[in-house]
Amino acid sequence: MKPKLSLYIGVGLVGLIVATALLALFWTPYPPTKIDILHRLARPSAAHWLGTDPFGRDVLSMIMVGTHTSLLVSLLAVSIGAGIGIPLGALASSCGGWVDALVMRMADLAFAFPALLTAVMITALAGPGATNAMLAIGLFNIPVFARVTRGAALSVQERDFVVAARATGRGAFGVMARHVLPNISGILLVQITIQFALGILAEAGLSYVGLGTQPPQPSWGRMLNDAQTFIFRAPMLAVFPGLAITVAVLGLNLLGDGLRDRLDPRLMARR
């Protein structure tokens, strides 16, 4: 796909999701948790654009409010990962020696655990819910950010302008904050969009198996689980929440790809 095009589509789709989330703060066609047994499992119609679920709740309203859960859990999970992982990676790259070895061995160890599997274990034992899901997903973002930051920082560390800054007597912390981190911010930004997308997928997965967001708070994963029970009677229920997840993840991935090309034009030659 053409890099510019993927950036535009990415911005468009992410914009759509964010706009929906903002709109849902003030307005949804129906109250998302309003039960209406008389109109349960209604097909899509003018009254209910995307139909109603087994409790008669309006699917469109639930999907709109579901953006909150998805975006919030993922945003906080990425913040945890970036907030702890980036300083760790920066520390590893500027200290070197045993600090570097220790941080990297810990990251290696974390990668041995299938992330979703361990998140299932943690949320199930610590108690299902959006907060624990967010912590469990965030935990696995830490080593990712630590590795990416360290790798990128090391490649900048020996560049002339960093060496010059060091020669002027600036301390390691100052060099890192003023010269190294700003120069790798593009790489980190791309990683943030990727982890954000993965966070949305992970939250949906955990909610699908009943460990993430708890009812009555609507969440896309949970809706898919409910839909599966009624797949013979109302197959459309299984379509829309999945589409919402796909649009959000696709948007973030395209945005990340587009940003990567824009920030590092050298890569364009290879595409």
């Binding site: 992330a115 599997l117 198996v209």
Partner: protein, 316 residues
């Protein structure tokens, strides 16, 4: 090379040990009392104490860790708190579902992704390349459990070609058993294939720009022969590494997919054991999965070195 291998194996063992310690600590820290859960809230304190003693839960943590690891090393996974049968029996029965499922998924993912990646790279910039890579983006964005539900909708509910869930069992014949794994394997494989096809394409594009490919063309080979005989074999080396990493995703993916298709595999066992606070099973399962991820990545790394001697040269 031998000294190097020895050090790597030592490192491997240390990682597995550290992983077990992490799992053990996590389970110690999280609130859970198997004995209390098994007896219910109105259990008498002395019954509770007796059960704890029986399960060995009254021992200090470090001692339980040491005996657990010691037993693991001798191949003894312990006795399930809930079912009172060896954990190895419980896991053994479930592996028969999860392992074939994961292997089918890896096989499918590779056989879909590599042709698409190579073809896409050879048509770089053409409409077919753009279409296939757009498809890959879509595949990456679709959660595998949603794909599973859509497959159930189309191939089980509407067309009736496959069962909507459940496992036929190996005693019903290999055909029937594999038949019930087709949909879950595809649901697992497609998102992974999407990632893999992008990696393959990038890697083939990289090798297509190398001197030896130009030389091959210059000596008169057709573009197709140069592609398949010279570019593709070299391009597949990094693809193998990604394949190793994907194994970890697949293992975690089976946990969710087995729920979608109600397959009696390791994932279902994991959920059951957590619900019943059968912590010894949870502990063993997570360590087994982590160990298999570590070992597979180790093996891939070693094969990588065999295939590409340049990598080994720096490390010796």
């Amino acid at each position: 090379m031998n000294l190097f291998l020895f050090r790597r194996v030592l490192g491997l063992l240390a990682t597995v040990l550290a992983a077990s310690l992490v799992v053990f600590i996590v389970l110690e820290v999280l609130p859970s009392d198997p004995a209390a859960l098994m007896l219910g809230t109105d259990a008498r304190p002395d019954t509770l104490a007796a059960l704890r003693r029986e399960l060995g839960l009254d021992q200090p943590s470090w001692w339980r860790f040491v005996t657990w690891i010691g037993n693991l090393l001798r191949g003894d996974l312990g006795i399930s708190y809930t079912y009172r049968v060896p954990v190895s029996e419980l896991i053994g029965a479930r592996v028969e579902v999860t392992l074939p499922l994961a292997m089918m998924a890896i096989g499918l993912s590779t056989s879909i992704a590599i042709p698409i990646g190579v073809f896409s790279a050879s048509r770089r910039g053409a409409a077919s390349d753009t279409a296939m890579m757009a498809g890959a983006q879509l595949g990456i964005a679709m959660p595998n459990f949603w794909l599973g539900i859509l497959f159930i909708l189309v191939f089980a509910v509407w067309l009736g070609w496959f069962p909507a869930g459940g496992f036929a069992g190996w005693d019903k014949g290999v055909g029937a058993a594999l038949h019930s794994l087709v949909l879950p394997a595809f649901a697992l494989a497609l998102p992974q294939a999407a990632i893999l096809s992008r990696v393959t394409r990038a890697s083939v594009l990289e090798t297509l720009g190398q001197d030896y490919v130009r030389t091959a063309r210059a000596k008169g080979l057709t573009a197709t022969v140069a592609l398949w005989r010279h570019a593709v074999p070299n391009a597949l080396i990094p693809v193998a590494t990604i394949l190793g990493l994907q194994f970890s995703f697949l293992l975690a993916g089976t946990v969710i997919i087995e729920n979608v298709f109600t397959l009696p595999g390791l994932g279902r066992l994991m959920f059951q054991s957590i619900a019943q606070r059968d912590l010894i099973v949870v502990q063993d399962l997570v360590v087994l999965m982590a160990t298999s991820v570590i070992v597979i990545n180790f093996v891939v790394d070693m094969i990588y070195r065999l295939l590409d001697p340049r990598i080994g040269a720096g490390a010796q």
